[in-house]
Amino acid sequence: MRRRSLEIVLAMVGGTFLISVPWVIPALIDSFWVSVITEILIWSLFASSVNLLFGYVGLLSFGQALYFGFGMYGVALGIDHLGLSFWPAFGLGIFSAMAMALVSGVFAVRLSSHYFAIITVVFSLIFYFLAVSDKPLTGGDDGINFSLPPLFSFDGKVFSLTDPTLQYFFVLAVVSLCLFLMHRVINSPLGKGFLAVRDNDLRASLIGLNVYVLRLIAFVMAGCLTGVSGALFAFFGRYASASYMFYQVSGEAVVWTIVGGAGTLFGPLVGTALFIVIREIVSSHWEHHSLIVGLLAILAVIFAPKGIVGLWNGWVNRPGEREAPRPVPQPLTLQAEP
């Protein structure tokens, strides 16, 4: 099949490119762009969490920034207040994000569609305001800075993420691992269960699937991804700020996901890369790059609702390939309850 071989070639080119970034990019453009690509990878995980929920389970979350914040502050406060070293702080960030996702998911996942989207924003706003008002702890919108503990020590030599190359590979490794795990889940029985719930939650419960539990599992998994993203971000900037918990951040991630292609594995990465690159290029000449973001969002929604990767899948026309979710007419709506 011509398409398969084309995709394999693309994957190999993409993989080779990503591995060679710390040397190729400074040579061709500027070493500044290595950190831009690092940032793209970090934010693409955030977008992937939105994608997992929306593209595969049919839940549009507009409040993932909350778990990003928990991941971020878990690391920052773990290092700054609790004196944790690198890996425990990383673990704390991920764990607190997942715990928060579980607690809020227990309630949020009982709602569907519009109400679910709204309550995810409400939860994230509550914690945003709490974070902003507790300035001594969180630094509010200004945030807190901290110094980075080393990654590990080996034979007397200290390895730390302050080295941009090491940082890049660390982020690349973590993001790749997360995407690989996501790939496994999507193609597993659980993943098919997710899709069934997405396509027709009424039917899903009639064949015996526990819709509530499946949605909750997905929500916690998404919280984990966002938490990892937040933790990486904290390590990346040695910085944590409440402003990243605001709903506008969540909203941008939703746009990246949908423009890149919801319901595809690499859609979020493509969308995130597109928007961040545009931001970097445009903002150096013109400060109103948000205008372009807004225009692109609207154009994408009207002309390419399946996103870039979705268009690619459609163009090469593989039958049976997962398409972007669309509303299904149902005689009864199902209230998912525990």
Binding site: S188, P189, K192, G193, N200, S205, L206
Partner: protein, 268 residues
């Protein structure tokens, strides 16, 4: 859940309700319904529109909870249980508006229906590795004649094929009791014949309750018929008795003298 072989009359009726009532605002959809359905026979539930037939199915499958009354499945009280719990006890159903998983392939529709029987869905193992499920899916695809459409997204299928897929999903889930809600609704005569054939096959091993409007179908395959009107039982009995029942004719047609109904029924 093992299926029942027709001809075995079980001591415990398959389905039994006691004073089942459901109201929607001021409207009484199901009115103090006490019905007993014996195992090993094909039951049809008929009645004019709004008689409460689908509401009855919704109550039995847990999509609605009754205002009062109880529901027993093989002696077990399932009143108020959640839909997925009732499903895992062995009661499966099709919906009036044909409803499958549109973005999943035909094969995957069957696949997930089969997997839903398991307590846990594995999270990290590739789905393709489950050979038992894959074999059953292939078997079922052959049975319902959709093998060459296996990779197509279910949403792109014709109406008749979607109905067959629903029946396939019912087969692969090995139900103990199967509720079919207007299985031939909207079908052409050819599709109807195909569906009726499949339903007859199923009736040999599975307890069936069918809601139908097509009298040919009803009188062709039902052993017992219950007629509902305004949420209550109007009449019940074998096909011949129902065909001659004046009240039934009145409920459907409003004119006790109308002969066509009887014609249709007796010539089925």
């Amino acid at each position: 859940m093992s299926a029942t072989v027709r001809g075995d009359v079980l001591a415990e009726p398959v389905l039994r309700t006691e004073n089942l009532t459901k109201r929607f605002g001021g409207l009484v959809a199901v009115d103090n319904l006490s019905i007993t359905l014996a195992g090993g026979r094909v039951h049809a539930i008929i009645g004019p529109n709004g008689a409460g037939k689908t509401t009855f199915f919704n109550l039995v499958t847990g999509l609605l909870s009754p205002d009062s009354g109880r529901i027993f499945f093989r002696g077990r009280d399932i009143t108020g249980a959640r839909p997925h719990v009732i499903s895992r006890l062995g009661i499966k159903r099709t919906l009036q508006v044909k409803s499958v998983f549109p973005d999943l392939s035909v094969a995957d529709n069957l696949w997930i229906t089969r997997q839903a029987r398991n307590r846990f869905l594995h999270a990290f193992r590739p789905a393709a590795r489950d050979t038992e499920t894959r074999l059953r899916v292939e078997e079922t695809l052959e049975q319902i004649g959709l093998a060459d459409l296996a990779a197509r997204p279910a949403g792109t299928l014709s109406y008749g094929d979607v109905a067959m897929l629903e029946i396939g999903m019912a087969i692969i889930s090995e139900p103990s009791l199967l509720l079919l809600d207007e299985p031939t609704c909207g079908m052409s005569p050819a599709e109807t014949a195909r569906a009726v054939g499949k339903i007859r096959e199923l009736s040999r091993t599975i307890d069936l309750v069918i809601i139908e409007h097509d009298m040919d179908v009803v009188f062709g395959i039902a052993d017992d018929i219950t007629v509902l009107a305004q949420g209550a039982i109007l009449a019940s009995g074998g096909p011949a008795a129902i065909a001659e029942d004046e009240r039934v004719r009145e409920a459907y047609l409003g004119r006790p003298e109308d002969e066509d109904f009887v014609e249709e029924a007796l010539n089925a």
